[in-house]
Amino acid sequence: MDLSIFTEYGPRLLAGFRLTIICWLLGTVFGAALGLLIAVAQRYGGRSVRWALQTYIELIRGTPFLVQLFLLYYGGPMIGLRLDPLPAGLLGLTIYGSPYFAEIFRSAFRAVPPGLIEAGRAIGMTELAIVRRILLPVGLVSALPALINFSIILTKETVILSIITVPEIMYQTQYMATMTFTFLEGYFTLALFFWAFVEVISRLGRRLERRITRHLIERT
């Protein structure tokens, strides 16, 4: 293989990688925010709210991300939702991730000791204050490992955005491969690159996890 293709297509690949990271971060942040909203609504909503949200969770978790993207990007315009590839991709990632994040938050909230919440009520905190000062800080810390884990899974989902022509790293690799007939080399390099990337972020994730939960580790 001629390595000069990487210098020629380097800037494109780099731009693609940057977009991959942006999609991943925004997808994680928006997805987690929506998931948090769903988890809180499920906790405090009435029976019908809980039922509607549970149906939403099952619908999204039961269908492939690719089909959801096609529905959004190609089906959306038929009901007046016309989006460019990137916004469609980001919205897709947000929707796709939200039920998984919601389940993570829900189980984290369940793990908050009821005594803490009762204590909050006993000293006269409002429900909002209990959510803000007890449920979220305690719950988020215990949700952290699962959150990091799922956000790493999301990095791998971002390559699917290339299919609806979002110019992220996979799309750019495909472009390079098609222009230079280096399909195997291109995709294999991308595979190695992704492997390294996922390894790095999971290490960083573990470090972050240790740092944030260090108050929970008993000193010896």
Partner: protein, 215 residues
């Protein structure tokens, strides 16, 4: 506007295509169970070399997006002189990717068994092989059933990606349907319904198995 008749019309071709979705994910998990068992044996081996091989295998397959792996296999096979239909490459990729997750599921299940089980088997004079086949494995398999069903559901969803290499499964068929009728909303909605139906059935099967295997 949404057209109910073209939504309903999409179901017949998509149901036909669902055979390939089931074939890819079903064969994928079956072969994945076999390869996964080997990887699991390596991961639990006493030799450091084998453990490293297993760790690299699992880490690579879990670190690289399935779509990228699919294209690597798809373009690799002709280069090494294997000329097979796209569906074979799709099944192979699915099985290899699944093997990484399955080996971890089994390793977890085996490690989760209390040490006392092996000790008791040795104490009553079982040979190591018998303690594995009669004590450890039956329990580990029962323990891992819910996670294996979960893995199968993930594979059904992941099989939508093999549409990219041209396998006529549900997603590819829905693209074709959308192209013919110019009604993407209905076609993809029908595809989503089919996936949902398959996965709900699998989830129900999982609950039933879990209930049956419960000790």
């Amino acid at each position: 506007m949404f057209s109910l008749s073209s939504f309903l019309d999409a179901f017949w071709p998509l149901t036909m295509a669902a055979r390939y979705t089931l074939l890819v994910s079903g064969l994928g998990i079956a072969l994945g169970l076999v390869i996964g068992a080997f990887v699991c044996v390596l991961a639990l081996s006493k030799s450091r070399v084998w453990r490293t091989v297993a760790a690299v295998w699992v880490s690579y397959l879990r670190g690289v997006p399935m779509l990228v792996q699919l294209l690597v296999v798809f373009f690799l096979l002709p280069v090494i002189g294997i000329d097979v239909p796209a569906i074979v490459g799709a099944v192979v990729t699915t099985a290899i990717v699944a093997s990484a997750y399955i080996s971890e599921i089994w390793r977890g299940a085996i490690m989760a068994l209390p040490k006392g089980q092996t000790e008791a088997a040795i104490a009553i004079g079982m040979r190591p092989r018998d303690s594995w086949t009669r004590i450890i494995l039956p329990q580990a398999v029962a323990l891992s059933i819910p996670q294996l069903i979960n893995e199968l559901i993930l594979l059904v969803k992941a099989s939508s990606l093999v549409s990219v290499v041209g396998v006529m499964e549900i997603t590819r068929a829905s693209q074709a349907q959308a192209g013919v009728t110019f009604r993407p909303l209905e076609a993809y909605l029908a595809a989503a319904c089919l996936y949902l139906a398959i996965n709900l059935c699998l989830a129900a099967l999982g609950r039933w198995l879990e209930h049956r295997m419960a000790v």
